[in-house]
């Protein structure tokens, strides 16, 4: 028995030809967040604190689809969601439909620890965030130029896209659509 940690920054149709300028920042962020988690475990921090800490770092990085860098709905807005769970107690908390909360994962933990519920969504979750005094910002903080472009392309193709679908022309997008409507990039 010993400590262990794993983290992810999303799955999808990530082409092997992914340009270095798009790959390297994400690899660097993974390395950075892994080291943060390892150090926290070595320091004896509670494991729930460790996973929250690491996910907060990932949320704050615009290269990942969570927090800053969240992809956009068909209306060009962010609707973020998060959840956290403690294995010993099976206590858990979850949030959906957030538009202004900087770190959704921390609000999910507050749902777990400060309410009799396990899941708050949309207006109720936003109101709870303000009650708890968590950091909120104008929703423009979460929107990146890359995700504006991705939404434009998805709308042109009339399709949804998983994480990391490569930007392609409308014609190529249509060629690569699968039967369930996902662009495979």
């Amino acid at each position: 028995m010993g400590w262990a940690i794993a983290l992810h920054g999303g799955a999808g149709d990530i082409p092997v030809s992914l340009p270095a300028e798009r790959r390297q920042p994400r690899e660097d962020a993974l390395h950075y967040c892994l080291q943060i988690g390892v150090e926290a475990l070595k320091a004896g921090n509670p494991v729930l604190d460790v996973v929250e800490l690491v996910v907060r770092e990932l949320e704050n990085n615009p290269h990942f689809n969570a927090g800053r860098g969240s992809v956009l709905t068909c209306n060009g807005e962010v609707e973020m969601e998060a959840s956290i769970m403690d294995g010993n107690t099976k206590n858990c908390g979850a949030v959906s439909g957030l538009k202004t909360v900087v770190n959704a994962i921390s609000l999910a933990r507050l749902v777990m620890e400060k309410t009799p519920h396990i899941y708050l969504a949309f207006d109720g979750a936003e109101a709870f965030a303000r009650e708890q005094g968590v950091e909120t910002v104008d929703s423009s903080y979460f929107v990146t130029p890359e995700n504006i472009e991705r939404l434009k392309q998805a709308k042109e193709a009339n399709r949804t896209q998983l994480d990391y679908t490569e930007p392609t022309s409308k014609a190529v997008n249509n060629k690569n659509l699968t039967s369930n409507g996902d662009s495979q990039g």
Binding site: G12, E27, L30, G37, V71, M85, A121
Partner: protein, 131 residues
Amino acid sequence: TVGCVAVDNDGNLASATSTGGFVNKMRGRIGDTPVIGAGTYANKLCAVSATGRGEAIIKGTVARDVAALMEFKGLSLKDAAAYAVDSVPKGTAGLIAVSATGEVTMPFNTMGMFRACATEDGYEEIGIWPD
């Protein structure tokens, strides 16, 4: 989507997941991330965080299935996670998981998954595509 799972030296486990969903989703759409047992789960055996197409992960109860396969069928973490990921349509899911005994696994059936892990014995891995 991003996620983290961890186990400490005493076997305490936790899981966390956060996401913006997917591009051009309808307003009000809820994915697997906040649905406990779908994209996030932890008990005394393992901790799991999933990523991919939320609808497939919800229908497959992917995260809970990993724990259930360990609990009821006695599978190892690696085998349980592989089974759960193989049980949903190709191209829709990936997950990271750790067990109470310090095992780590990171299977996916998509083209790639940004992932990283480390264990107390010095093993460290950062990857995107299959080995």
